[in-house]
């Protein structure tokens, strides 16, 4: 089985580099053509997401809209922190074809496998 992480039997690595970031919840789904990530980033508008791929690592950053209402805060559960999560990618992923979009606070990232890495059915003669 192909691993999204380079270390077998270990979860994708979550790094919290400072208190300015929180790790968003993620669902990862694999099919024959690649992986799909759904990352929860409520409060992040379109255009405030950074998806970068470097040294085999996929970094997802979502920045919240800094819009403190001019009102007295009575009660709070949400966080000020931006979202950040880093994944070690399966080397078979074709990084030139990574696609990402955000809709109502859910960032969807599609990680297609390189053509050569796709399973191939060999006909038995």
């Amino acid at each position: 089985m192909s691993q999204l992480v380079t270390r077998p039997n270990e979860a994708p690595v979550v790094r919290r580099e400072s208190n300015e970031f929180i790790a968003p919840a993620v669902n990862i789904h694999q099919d024959a053509d690649g992986y799909s990530l759904e990352v929860e980033m409520p409060g992040v508008p379109k255009g405030s997401v950074e998806v970068t791929f470097e040294d085999g690592k996929l970094t997802l950053v979502g920045r919240r809209k800094r819009e403190e209402p001019d009102e007295h805060r009575v009660y709070r559960e949400s966080s000020d922190a931006d979202y950040r999560r880093v994944f070690d990618l399966d080397p078979t992923i074709d990084s030139s074809r990574i696609e990402a979009s955000i809709e109502q606070g859910v960032l969807t990232v599609r990680l297609p496998k390189a053509e050569a890495a796709k399973p191939r059915r060999i006909a038995v003669a």
Binding site: N27, R73, Y75
Partner: protein, 151 residues
């Protein structure tokens, strides 16, 4: 003001799920001692913020990935209930799930508003995964400035 305690989501790491019954037991012990009365009975609980100024009360609920028609916002006396259902768009039987940290299904949060509001002027909008409910205050709940007269 009476507020509802926030039960954070269950641990996002599914391997901890087997600990959840222990966690619930511990939580229930603390609830007995707590000053808040919880209304999150089951499912997940999106984070909720309350703001207030002279004219209105604003409630924000962080619930990413919903459809606006799947929210239900209701007002009963001075209690505001925001509930809804988040549905998974993934179809079953296609590929395999690698990691499941997101919560799906129903949620319900109820708060007691800090002031009386005009029920027929409440507005709710859903943007960037955050539901914002704006509740204009009733006239009697607004602060009034009293002129000091000199005889």
């Amino acid at each position: 003001m009476r507020l509802i305690s926030y039960k954070p989501q269950l641990s996002p790491w599914s391997s901890f799920d087997r600990l959840s019954s222990l966690r619930d037991l511990l939580d229930s012990a603390f609830e007995l001692a707590g000053t808040f009365s919880p209304t999150v009975d089951r499912g997940w609980a999106p984070a909720l913020d309350i703001y207030e100024d002279d004219d209105k009360v604003t409630v924000k609920v962080e619930a990413a990935g919903m459809k606006k028609e799947d929210f239900d916002v209701s007002l009963h006396d001075d209690n505001l209930t925001v509930s809804g259902e988040r549905r998974s768009e993934k179809k079953e039987g296609e590929g395999e799930s690698f990691r499941s940290e997101r919560f799906f299904g129903r949620f319900s949060r109820t708060i007691t508003l800090p002031a009386a509001v005009k029920a027929d002027e409440v507005k709710a909008t859903y943007e960037d995964g955050v539901l914002t409910v704006i509740l204009p205050k009733a006239e009697e709940a607004k602060p009034r400035k009293i002129e000091v007269s000199v005889n």
